[in-house]
Symmetry: D3
Amino acid sequence: MSERYLRGIEIAEQLASDNLDEFLTSRVAELAPDFARMAIEFPFGDLYSRDQLDLRSRELVAIAALAAMNDCGPQLRMHVRAATRLGVEKTEIVEIFMQVAIYSGFPAALNALTSCHDLLTDECPRQAARRVAGQG
Amino acid sequence: MSERYLRGIEIAEQLASDNLDEFLTSRVAELAPDFARMAIEFPFGDLYSRDQLDLRSRELVAIAALAAMNDCGPQLRMHVRAATRLGVEKTEIVEIFMQVAIYSGFPAALNALTSCHDLLTDECPRQAARRVAGQG
Amino acid sequence: MSERYLRGIEIAEQLASDNLDEFLTSRVAELAPDFARMAIEFPFGDLYSRDQLDLRSRELVAIAALAAMNDCGPQLRMHVRAATRLGVEKTEIVEIFMQVAIYSGFPAALNALTSCHDLLTDECPRQAARRVAGQG
Amino acid sequence: MSERYLRGIEIAEQLASDNLDEFLTSRVAELAPDFARMAIEFPFGDLYSRDQLDLRSRELVAIAALAAMNDCGPQLRMHVRAATRLGVEKTEIVEIFMQVAIYSGFPAALNALTSCHDLLTDECPRQAARRVAGQG
Amino acid sequence: MSERYLRGIEIAEQLASDNLDEFLTSRVAELAPDFARMAIEFPFGDLYSRDQLDLRSRELVAIAALAAMNDCGPQLRMHVRAATRLGVEKTEIVEIFMQVAIYSGFPAALNALTSCHDLLTDECPRQAARRVAGQG
Amino acid sequence: MSERYLRGIEIAEQLASDNLDEFLTSRVAELAPDFARMAIEFPFGDLYSRDQLDLRSRELVAIAALAAMNDCGPQLRMHVRAATRLGVEKTEIVEIFMQVAIYSGFPAALNALTSCHDLLTDECPRQAARRVAGQG
């Protein structure tokens, strides 16, 4: 294992330990193990490990970039969790999504809010489950 | 003039006084004066004026979002200047552009670096002029 | 409530009364109530309320823009319904989606047709349900 | 020459006779003559020639789609000219660009206004030339 | 039926006979039969039928273009199947998705790998079903 | 210098020796030397150096991806040159741009043809210069 990989894993673990395990044992990682390695090495080992920008700022950048691209998949959710772990307030993340409407329009902002709703609300999971079941 | 507009102008001036004058007297503002007003009211009067996110974070968000969308026009340049005024280091902005390569690829990052090169370098304008004239 | 909001709600109700209630009581609106308000104020209160373009033309613009961006989420569906309410023929909306293939390619057009299929067909809901259940 | 081509040329001429000549004798048409033919046949011969949507609506669709995609090249300008020829008011086109900010953000709208400014203003060309020369 | 359609059908059948039937009898084809015809005529009848590029290269182009646009819908899956039928190795397709990360970033590449996972793995369907059921 | 960098430089030189020198001594490389290094290491050192896809196919992928994203900047031109050096015919590259119209629409295809026109035509540079000077 390259030094870049080890450095990357260390940061990725700090940011998103649960998501990391999930990713590393995912079927995509099984299908393209070299790419799973590169997806640790380049983003986290090469870039996130640099001192020029602190981790908190990096997570704001990740969230803003992904929301602006209207990419509301697992990557956005992973970075929302990571930002929360680093102490970014949920209200700040909601605010970033709102601000993104300026640059990429309302649909991108609304899609981001919808797709990360459960990560940004303080409703407990049981309440959420009830609501979905129509009993809330 | 609406309260939103006045609140927006105050913030926009703080961020980018030169660019603001340029924008408000531009031919686009002449062609669509109501839109020029809305472009102050909504982004700055409604969103930037909120306390939920500090101005520095808002500029990181703006720069990341615009670079990720591969939009390297006057908006990106305006926000790079605004971020610099707020004390964001040039090395931090370069780093944001580098990080954006993770989410939108190398061309978007290289285009952002190219388009804002003169705002991010410490070379004095005279040197730059010489270089362009082939005497550098 | 601001005048812009009241003006916006009036237009939004005219365009999409069902969708509007759904939106205003949605979990996203609960999570980011200020953004839900802005999503009425700016699009409907500030822009749709202007005389420079009639409502029918505005709905053609909304449908064309969203389909061209390959954004086939709730926004596109909302505007397809609104256009229908304003008297735009279903065949016209199908034709807009077809025309969008010129500017953004066949996948965007096919995705729009797929995602709004049920709103554009004249098949009654019961038939549709049967078909999905494999009895059609 | 196919029937589709002849049908397409007829419509394209009606929409944009100057731009058409320019396009058909352009270096791109010289490099890829078959594609220049297809760019008449498919958009104009196959789609614009259909009765399901009138020409005015088709031009609103074209302008909205291209502006929303933040594509402000020759295609957008061609369709702005075509719309004007069909009687769409310049104020309506400005309004479409403004509305596009809802779906794709302010930069796309501002870029469209900037790129088509000369086609949408009533300033005479001499005034424009003077202004650019700094004498305006 | 036009000659272009017949020529297109012949190629489309060669590439993706199963998907073709599915497409031609789909509800979208029912809703917009003329567009379903055009979606054969233009891509396959006009372009794929030309000698200037061999079919294998065309499928590499299709897969790269769709993955780069982060469009992971039925079109991408159809072309992955077509490429496989033409003898493109699954490892080559995985590699194309990996390479696309250079131009459009890691999320687009990961989304493509996720969305076509079942077409690119050699796991038999029964194993896959078990795994999904949590017994794998 | 890392092994990845040396491996990357070797491939990049083979593909585009002129463009490479230009890039490595560019002002962007001066501003962000670490990113210039990464732009060799990751694309060429990590990905292009792998055996899973031959260089010719990799260049088809690069050209298709960049054209589909409507990115007609220096990256597209670099890869058009590289493909030509590897023996891809100019007519094949023109054909790729044409095919991209299927997936991303006519404007993207026309923009790619326009932006790379001089690299794809057989007109000698002197003729081109004359033509631009209006004497052609």
